[in-house]
Subunit: 366 residues, 2 copies
DNA sequence: CTGAAAGCGCTTACAG
DNA sequence: CTGAAAGCGCTTACAG
């Protein structure tokens, strides 16, 4: 139908038409105080008349050496990232700070094949990056860092000289496990998030547990373990760990199925996300396992859904919006002040709701 | 701590160092087939040696006349947008298409004061925009359109010559109301989303109902009305409409409080979002009103939470991820083919779950 | 397969 | 308050 009209109207054209210098037209847009109000309105009028769309941002960027945007990068495709109910609020936090400081927010997703995302990252017109959930040896990370722009790591493997924001995953996990221990539970099933690049689903043996790379997974696992190791219980005898491939309800459901039919017969499940925990609740519901009487479940995140289910989910709250805000702040501070800020660890908090209760307060599951 | 190193190394520098033309260096990055493998690796090595970060995207953009990104704009601040559980999946849909076509995704939020967001929109380095929920006379919209870039409207007031994607809001709402009518309900409370720029909270009189601007709100309201008007019931006598300021649980809660204590004493609530509907469920729960025995509730969206609550929510499903995908596709089609695609209306579907039941199957609410 | 030339459209000191 | 000049760093035909 309509064809896009090619309009080559530039600053110069309208300067010529008016007999003023190009710099004056530029000032009309960018420094209104640098010229008389009368001239300015005349310029703006002529611009509208000629169909001039305002100074070309790409040219302005080049000239200024600033992109006016910050990049947010995940190692996974965006479609996957958005299945995590906590990802969006974190992006929101970054967005709030970007907005406030006058920056745009460029979202870049990775892909299964890191080479696919590389050009996008190489060509992203941004002044800096917020990097989430990156492993040290991610090949996309190399491409990003080679841009030599300011960076903030979020829940990633730390790297010398770069500020990072992490959540006290270990502490939160420890408190979660202690909560269940204090309720008398002795046999645990742990549902782990993604552990390495080599995604897999199933029970984790000792070697596999030792090789966890993904930061939140590693730290949460360590927290659970610390709690158990502080008791008379034996990690290897009283705990089964199941790793999931994706952070979805379905993965939690399958994990629950595997753990609750495991010879250990756990009375409590520790899930590394609320999403996974909700999957276990669904499994319990489908199989007439009463939560919390026959099975206790503790999640992680305190996602918006956590308080809405029946029973409501006992979970470890992490400040996911604030995490994003802080990431935005630390990046913008670098952009403005040219200094590298200190790294930050955010606290977690156990939120006790209905999904956890005393061990053996009903007959055992199955 | 560390200070950002200013690196002025450019294509030229490495061309000079190697005694080749700048274009050859450029080709090493952008057209590997245009030079021998040996020369290419030599160039790349020298680049790494000198600390060259690759071709500057801003300069490349200017030269190419392409930004390599698409903009997604909302009339509200991003922090508000993200409170809508359906916004993130829609962005995900756009992101999927952008990713696939090799575009970045620039998120731009509006603000209460449209003048604040204007510079961000004016300077956004994008090749086109996806515009969500825009009213015809939004002043930010003027700024965006003056960029003269390809655009796709989503759930916005249509504009001559621009492709748009809308959801069959009216049809969905009609089916929702018919569902309740067929269950014998005769007195309805409607909980409306934002209606105009002049945000308000409270019962809507006739004049206010007639002046609704916001597209989804207007169309859903019309759908409810069509259904009621097709019966012997009188809209003015059998229906109370309450408008909310924000799409939050709290707003739904307050709306339920107002409607259920209104003299009409509705037996069924039609909420224009699941978020609002969930707020009413919470109110009902707090006030020992049994859903669905004493009160039926029907939402809109089929957000991820809708199936997780107790009772699960009867609602109108809209394809929110696909809506985003389609928006991305229509925009990218314009960018690639220079033609304006046809507009699309997406279907809705009633999903009956536990929150709706026969009228008067219990004693009336209150 | 390689190189010289032109120019994308703007903003920024600076001089008047 | 206004204007002339320089240059941001790259890519693209084009000629060899």
């Amino acid at each position: 139908m309509a064809v896009k009209t090619k309009d080559n109207i530039t600053l110069k054209d309208i300067a010529k038409k008016l007999g003023v210098a190009a710099s004056t037209v530029s000032n009309a847009y960018n420094r209104p105080d640098q010229l008389s109000e009368a001239l300015r309105t005349k310029i703006l009028e002529t611009a509208k008349e000629l169909g001039y769309c305002g100074p070309d941002p790409m040219a302005a960027n080049l000239r200024r050496g600033k992109a006016g945007a910050i990049g947010v990068v995940y190692p996974h495709p965006l479609s996957y990232t958005f299945t995590d109910p906590v990802a969006a609020p974190t992006i929101q936090g970054i967005a709030e700070e970007a907005e406030r400081a006058g920056y745009g927010l460029l979202l870049v997703g990775g892909s299964e094949d890191p080479l696919e995302a590389a050009p996008l990252v190489a060509k992203a017109t941004v002044d800096g990056f917020v990097l989430q959930n990156f492993d040290k040896n991610d090949s996309l990370l190399e491409v990003i860092l080679s841009r030599n722009l300011p960076v903030v790591f979020v829940e990633s493997q730390t790297r010398e000289g770069f500020p990072s924001i992490t959540v006290d995953d270990e502490g939160g996990a420890r408190v979660a496990a202690n909560h269940l221990l204090s309720l008398g539970h002795k046999r645990f099933g742990i549902i782990a998030l993604e552990t390495t690049h080599h995604v897999r689903e199933g029970i984790m043996d000792k070697a596999r547990q030792a090789g966890v790379v993904h930061v939140p997974t590693r730290n949460r696992l360590r927290g659970y373990r610390r709690a158990v190791d502080a008791t008379k219980l034996k990690w290897d005898k009283n705990v089964v760990v199941y790793e999931t491939a994706d952070n979805t309800l379905g993965d939690g459901y399958r994990a629950a199925a595997a753990l609750l039919t495991h010879p250990l017969r756990p009375t409590a499940l520790l899930a590394m996300s609320d999403q996974l925990a909700l999957g276990t609740l669904r499994y319990a519901n489908d199989n007439k396992i009463n939560v919390p009487k026959q099975l206790s479940v503790v999640g992680f995140d305190d996602a918006p859904l956590a308080s809405q289910t029946t029973p409501a989910l006992t979970t470890v709250r992490q400040p996911y919006v604030e995490k994003g805000r802080l990431a935005g702040q630390l990046l913008i501070a670098q952009l403005k002040e040219n200094t590298v800020p200190e790294s930050v660890v955010l606290p977690t908090e156990l939120i006790v709701r209905g999904s956890s209760g005393k061990a053996n307060s009903g007959k055992p599951a199955k």
